[in-house]
C-alpha cells in the first residue's frame, strides 16, 4: 500500500510552530482561561432555580406601588396563611416571592379580590411570574439565566393572521372620502352612489365624460393619488383611483404596527408578566403568554373588536344620500353618514357607575384633535341630538369541503347597534360619558376602547397551550437526558483515549459551559428541541477531538510523540472546519424556516458547533501541550 509519509505542516499558518514543535504561544492559554472564567460567570445564573412570584402593576399614574403598599400586600397574604418569601418594589411595580405554584395561584386570586374591589374598574394587574434568584453580584455583571420557551415554562402561544383585505378596503374607503370631499370643494359634480369602493379601486361615476375629464385633471393635479385613470363602469364614465404597491406595503406595515400596539395594551390588561408580541412574516403576529393557563380569557380579548362612532342625528335639510337609517328602541332613527369622531380618537375610557341613577357608564377622554372636532360639531348644535353607534366585529372562520378539500372561508360578522341618542346639552369637549349600556357591555367597551382600535381584524391560525406541569416534566426529562448522555460520552472517551480522553472530557465540559453561557448572554430561548440540540452537541462535539486523536494515533506510528501531536492538530484543522461549516449551513436553513421550538434547536446546534470548534482548538490543544509539549515524551497514553 502507498506510503503516506508526509507530515509536519501546520495549518494555522504559524511558521514558528512548524520550526519548533515544542513551541506553543502563551496567548492561547490566556484566551482559553479568559473564556473559561467568563463562561463560568455567565452560565452560573442557570443554576439558581427561580421563585414563584406575583408581579403587581398599575397603569393609573395616581396610584403608587411603594414600600408601604407592598408591606400591606404581603400582610394580606400572611393573614390568609400564605408564606411570603420576600416582597419588594421594582421599576415596574411590586414583586412578591412565594414558596410554591399552589401558593402563587391562591395569592393571585386573593390579591386580585382585595386590591380590585368589585364594581369598580380594575386598578391593579396581578401577574404570575417566575422571579430569578441570581445573586446581585452576578446580576451586576449582566448575567441572566436562559429564557425558557413555552414548552418548558407552560403557557399559550398564538399566531394571528391579520386580515389585510379589510385593511386595504379601509384604506380605499379613506381614499374615496378624501377624493369626494375634494371634488365637492372644487364644485365638480359626481353621481353619488352607495359604495364607491369596488374591488381594489375606488370608482367615482360622473354624468358626462366632460365632467369626468375635468375631475380627472383636477385629481391628478393634486398629486395625492398613486393612479387616477379614466374608465367606464355600468355604462357611465368613471374615474378610477388605485393604490400602488408601495402604498399597499405601507398599509400592511401600518396595520400590523397598529394591531401590535393594540394587542400589547390588551395583553397588559390580562396580567402576563413577560408577554411576547411580535410580527411574523408579512401579515402575521405571534403572541407568547408564558404562565397563562386559561386560554378562554385571552381569546376573548384577542378576537373581539369594538369601536364607536359618534354622529349627529340627521337634520331635515340633509340630502338623502348622506343619511343612514338605523333602528333604535323599536323605532328607526335617521342619522348623518359622516362621523364626528370614531373610537380611534379615544385615549382613555373608564367604566363606572352613574352617581345618580346607579346605571353603568363609560367615561371617555378624546385626543386633542378628536376633542376639537367634537367641540366644533356640538357647539352649533346645542339642543340637537347626537347618536352613538357601537360596532362589534367578530371574525368567523367557516370550513367547507369542496372536492374533498377543506377550504377556509373567512368573514367578519359585524354588529352595529345604535346605543344612545342624546340631546346635546352643551358643547362637548375632550371628556364626556356614555350611558345606556349593560354592565358587561360597559366593561368590554371601556377595555376595548382603552386598548385602542385595531386597524384590521385578525384570525387565530395557530394556538398551542402547554400546561405548567408538562413544562416542568419536560425540563426534568431534558436535563436527565443531557446528564445521562454526557456521562456516557465521558466514560467512553476516557476508556477509549485514556489521557487524551481526559483532555477531551475537560474540553467537552467546558464546551457545555460555554454553550450555556453564550445562550444566556444572547438571551436565546431554551426549548425542548433546544435541549435535544444540546444533547446532540454533546455527542457531536467530541468529533473534533476524535478527528485530532485518531490523526495523532496514526502519526505516532511514523514519528516521535511531540511531532505526531503537532501534526495531528495541524492536519485535522481544515477537515474540522469543512465539516462544521456545512453543518452550520444546515442549521442556518433550519433557523430560516422554523419559528419557536425548531428555531431553538437550530440556535443551540449553531452555537454548539462554534463552541466545540473553539474548545477543540484552544482548550484541548492547550492542555495537551501543557502535558506533553514541554518535554521529550517517549510514551503517549492515547
Amino acid at each position: 500500500m502507498a506510503d503516506n509519509g508526509v507530515f509536519g505542516q501546520n495549518l494555522f499558518g504559524n511558521r514558528n510552530d512548524t520550526k519548533n514543535p515544542h513551541h506553543y504561544p502563551v496567548w492561547r492559554y490566556f484566551v482559553a482561561l479568559f473564556v473559561l472564567i467568563l463562561a463560568c460567570v455567565y452560565a452560573a445564573p442557570n443554576i439558581y432555580p427561580p421563585d414563584y412570584a406575583l408581579q403587581i402593576q398599575t397603569d393609573n399614574s395616581d396610584l403608587r406601588i411603594g414600600v408601604r403598599f407592598m408591606t400591606q400586600a404581603a400582610k394580606i397574604l400572611a393573614d390568609e396563611g400564605i408564606g411570603v418569601k420576600a416582597s419588594n418594589t421594582t421599576s415596574k411595580g411590586g414583586l412578591i416571592r412565594l414558596g410554591s405554584d399552589v401558593d402563587q395561584l391562591r395569592a393571585q386570586s386573593i390579591l386580585d379580590e382585595r386590591l380590585n374591589p368589585a364594581g369598580r374598574d380594575r386598578q391593579f394587574v396581578i401577574a404570575l411570574n417566575l422571579a430569578q434568584t441570581t445573586p446581585a453580584w452576578l446580576q451586576d455583571l449582566g448575567a441572566q439565566p436562559m429564557t425558557l420557551g413555552l414548552d418548558l415554562s407552560g403557557g399559550i402561544h398564538f399566531v394571528l393572521e391579520v386580515d389585510m383585505e379589510s385593511a386595504f378596503a379601509k384604506a380605499l374607503d379613506d381614499e374615496a372620502e378624501k377624493a369626494t370631499n375634494y371634488l365637492r370643494q372644487e364644485n365638480i359634480r359626481y353621481r353619488s352612489s352607495g359604495n364607491l369602493v369596488q374591488g381594489k379601486a375606488v370608482r367615482i361615476p360622473f354624468a358626462t365624460e366632460t365632467t369626468r375629464d375635468q375631475a380627472l385633471r383636477s385629481l391628478r393635479s393634486t398629486n395625492d393619488y398613486d393612479s387616477v385613470i379614466a374608465s367606464e363602469s355600468q355604462g357611465s364614465p368613471v374615474v378610477e383611483i388605485g393604490i400602488g404597491d408601495e402604498k399597499m406595503a405601507t398599509i400592511e406595515d401600518v396595520a400590523i404596527e397598529q394591531n401590535l400596539t393594540g394587542l400589547r395594551s390588551r395583553i397588559n390588561e390580562l396580567g402576563v408578566a413577560e408577554p411576547l408580541v411580535q410580527r411574523l412574516g408579512r401579515s402575521r403576529i405571534v403572541i407568547d403568554l408564558p404562565g397563562v393557563q386559561d386560554s378562554s380569557e385571552a381569546k376573548r380579548l384577542l378576537d373581539k373588536f369594538a369601536t364607536l362612532e359618534f354622529r349627529l342625528v340627521a337634520k331635515p335639510e340633509d340630502r338623502p344620500s348622506s343619511i343612514e337609517v338605523m333602528p333604535y328602541e323599536g323605532q328607526t332613527r335617521r342619522l348623518q353618514r359622516a362621523n364626528i369622531v370614531t373610537g380611534d380618537s379615544v385615549i382613555n375610557a373608564i367604566q363606572g357607575l352613574d352617581s345618580e341613577t346607579g346605571l353603568p357608564q363609560v367615561n371617555i377622554e378624546l385626543d386633542s384633535e378628536g376633542g376639537e372636532r367634537m367641540n366644533r360639531a356640538t357647539g352649533p348644535n346645542i339642543g340637537h341630538s347626537m347618536a352613538i353607534i357601537f360596532i362589534e366585529q367578530k371574525p368567523v372562520i367557516a370550513r367547507e369541503v369542496i372536492d374533498g378539500e377543506v377550504v377556509e372561508k373567512r368573514s367578519i360578522r359585524e354588529e352595529r347597534r345604535l346605543i344612545s341618542v342624546a340631546t346635546i346639552q352643551a358643547a362637548l369637549g375632550y371628556r364626556f360619558r356614555i350611558t345606556g349600556l349593560s354592565m358587561s357591555e360597559a366593561r368590554d367597551l371601556a377595555l376595548l376602547l382603552r386598548a385602542g382600535a385595531l386597524a384590521a381584524p385578525m384570525y387565530i391560525v395557530e394556538e398551542r397551550t402547554v400546561g405548567a406541569s408538562l413544562g416542568e416534566e419536560n425540563i426534568d426529562r431534558g436535563v436527565q437526558a443531557v446528564v445521562i448522555g454526557f456521562v456516557l460520552v465521558l466514560l467512553f472517551m476516557l476508556f477509549y483515549y485514556k489521557v487524551f480522553g481526559l483532555v477531551a472530557n475537560i474540553a467537552l465540559t467546558m464546551n457545555l459551559t460555554v454553550l450555556v453561557a453564550v445562550m444566556s448572554l444572547l438571551g436565546a430561548t431554551l426549548t425542548l428541541p433546544g435541549i435535544a440540540g444540546i444533547v446532540l452537541t454533546v455527542g457531536m462535539a467530541v468529533d473534533a477531538n476524535v478527528l485530532i486523536f485518531s490523526r495523532i494515533r496514526e502519526e505516532l506510528g511514523k514519528s516521535v510523540p511531540s511531532i505526531a501531536i503537532q501534526a495531528g492538530y495541524g492536519r485535522a484543522f481544515l477537515t474540522i472546519l469543512d465539516a462544521n461549516i456545512t453543518t452550520l449551513l444546515v442549521a442556518l436553513i433550519l433557523l430560516g424556516i422554523g419559528s419557536g421550538p425548531v428555531a431553538g434547536f437550530a440556535v443551540t446546534l449553531s452555537i454548539g458547533i462554534l463552541t466545540s470548534m473553539f474548545t477543540a482548538i484552544f482548550v484541548s490543544r492547550g492542555i495537551v501541550h501543557l502535558i506533553y509539549g514541554r518535554r521529550q515524551v517517549q510514551k503517549v497514553w492515547i
Binding site: 368567523v396 377556509e408 394556538e463 467512553f492 428541541p529 435535544a532 461549516i581 456545512t582
Partner: protein, 306 residues
C-alpha cells in the same frame, strides 16, 4: 488491518438498492404520517389520575359528537392523546380554537379529574405553508451543500456527497412511512440535522481521499479510496458511537414528545455512517475520480510539500 471496502461495493449497492426501494414503496403506498404541524387540526393531551382505556375516551367523544377523533395512549397509561382532523368544526361559535376546552370539559364530566396538559390548534393554511417550506428547506440545504463542496472540493465530490445525503434522507423518511410514525416539525429538524451529520462524515472521508490522491503516487483509485476509508474508519465509528450514546439517552429519558426526534436521528446516524463509507465513495469510483481532478497547484498543494 485493512478492510477491502471497495471490493464489497457491489454488495453494498444491492443493500442500498433494496432499502431504497423499500423506502420508496413505503412512501408511495403508505405515505408519511404527517403530524399536526403539517396537516393542521387540533391535538389535545390530557392526563388522568389513574389509567384510562382509550376506548372509553373514544366512546365519550363520539357521544359528544366528535366521531372522527383519534384517541391513543401517549407515553403512559394515564396520558391520552386526542387528535381531531381540521375539518371538524366545534359545536360552539368559536370554531376549532375552542375545541380543547370543550373536549376536556366533556371528558371531565364523564371520567373525573382531567388535567389539560397540552392543547394545540394549527390552521390548515399554516400546515400547508409549512409543508411547502419544509420541502424548500430540504432542497435549499442540498443545493447550498452541493455548491459549498464544489467550491471546496470538486464537482465529483459534490455529486458523491449529495447522493449520500439523498440516500440518507429517503431512507430516514422511508422508515417513518413504513412504521407510520408521526412526522412533525421536530422530526423535520432531525432530518435536517441528519443531513448535517451525514455530510460531516462524508466530508471527513472525502478530505482524506483528496489528501491521499495528492500525496500518493502508486495504487489504483479503488486502492487509494479503500486506504482512506480504513484510515478514517476509527474516527467514523467513534463519533457515530458517541452520537448514538446521547441519542439513546434522549430516547430513554427525554420523554414521548422528543422520542420521534431521537428516533429520526438514530436512524439517520446509522444510515449516515454507512453511506459515508459506501455511497459517497462508490459514486467517486463510478465517476472515475482521478489525480487530474485534484490537481490544484495553488495554496493547498503547499500543504503537501514537506
Amino acid at each position: 488491518m485493512a478492510i477491502d471496502f471497495m471490493g464489497k461495493r457491489h454488495l453494498a449497492l444491492i443493500f442500498s438498492g433494496l432499502i431504497l426501494a423499500g423506502s420508496i414503496i413505503a412512501l408511495a403506498f403508505q405515505g408519511v404520517n404527517r403530524g399536526l404541524d403539517f396537516t393542521g387540526g387540533t391535538l389535545i393531551e390530557v392526563g388522568f389520575s389513574e389509567s384510562v382505556d382509550p376506548t372509553t375516551v373514544r366512546n365519550i367523544l363520539s357521544d359528544a359528537g366528535y366521531t372522527d377523533a383519534v384517541v391513543q395512549n401517549f407515553g403512559s397509561e394515564t396520558d391520552i392523546l386526542i387528535r381531531v382532523p381540521p375539518n371538524t368544526v366545534a359545536a360552539g361559535t368559536g370554531g376549532q380554537t375552542r375545541l380543547g376546552d370543550q373536549i376536556s370539559a366533556a371528558l371531565g364530566a364523564q371520567i373525573g379529574k382531567v388535567e389539560l396538559r397540552r392543547s394545540e390548534f394549527v390552521g390548515p393554511a399554516v400546515g400547508e405553508e409549512l409543508t411547502e417550506d419544509a420541502g424548500l428547506a430540504l432542497l435549499a440545504a442540498l443545493g447550498m451543500i452541493m455548491v459549498y463542496i464544489m467550491f471546496r472540493f470538486t464537482g465529483k465530490f459534490a455529486l458523491g456527497a449529495v447522493a449520500a445525503l439523498i440516500h440518507d434522507v429517503i431512507i430516514t423518511i422511508g422508515a417513518f412511512a413504513a412504521f407510520q410514525w408521526t412526522f412533525n416539525l421536530p422530526e423535520l429538524a432531525a432530518l435536517l440535522a441528519v443531513i448535517g451529520y451525514s455530510l460531516n462524515d462524508t466530508i471527513v472521508v472525502s478530505d482524506r481521499i483528496r489528501e491521499n490522491f495528492r500525496s500518493t503516487r502508486r495504487g489504483t483509485s479503488a486502492e487509494i479510496i479503500n486506504y482512506s476509508l480504513n484510515q478514517t474508519l476509527a474516527r467514523t465509528l467513534v463519533t457515530s458511537l458517541t452520537t448514538l450514546l446521547v441519542l439513546v439517552a434522549l430516547l430513554l429519558a427525554g420523554g414521548e414528545q422528543i422520542a420521534g426526534f431521537a428516533r429520526a436521528l438514530t436512524i439517520g446516524v446509522l444510515i449516515g455512517t454507512y453511506s459515508s463509507i459506501y455511497v459517497a465513495a462508490t459514486v467517486l469510483l463510478t465517476l472515475q475520480l482521478s489525480r487530474q481532478d485534484l490537481a490544484v497547484p495553488e495554496k493547498e498543494s503547499a500543504d503537501n510539500v514537506p
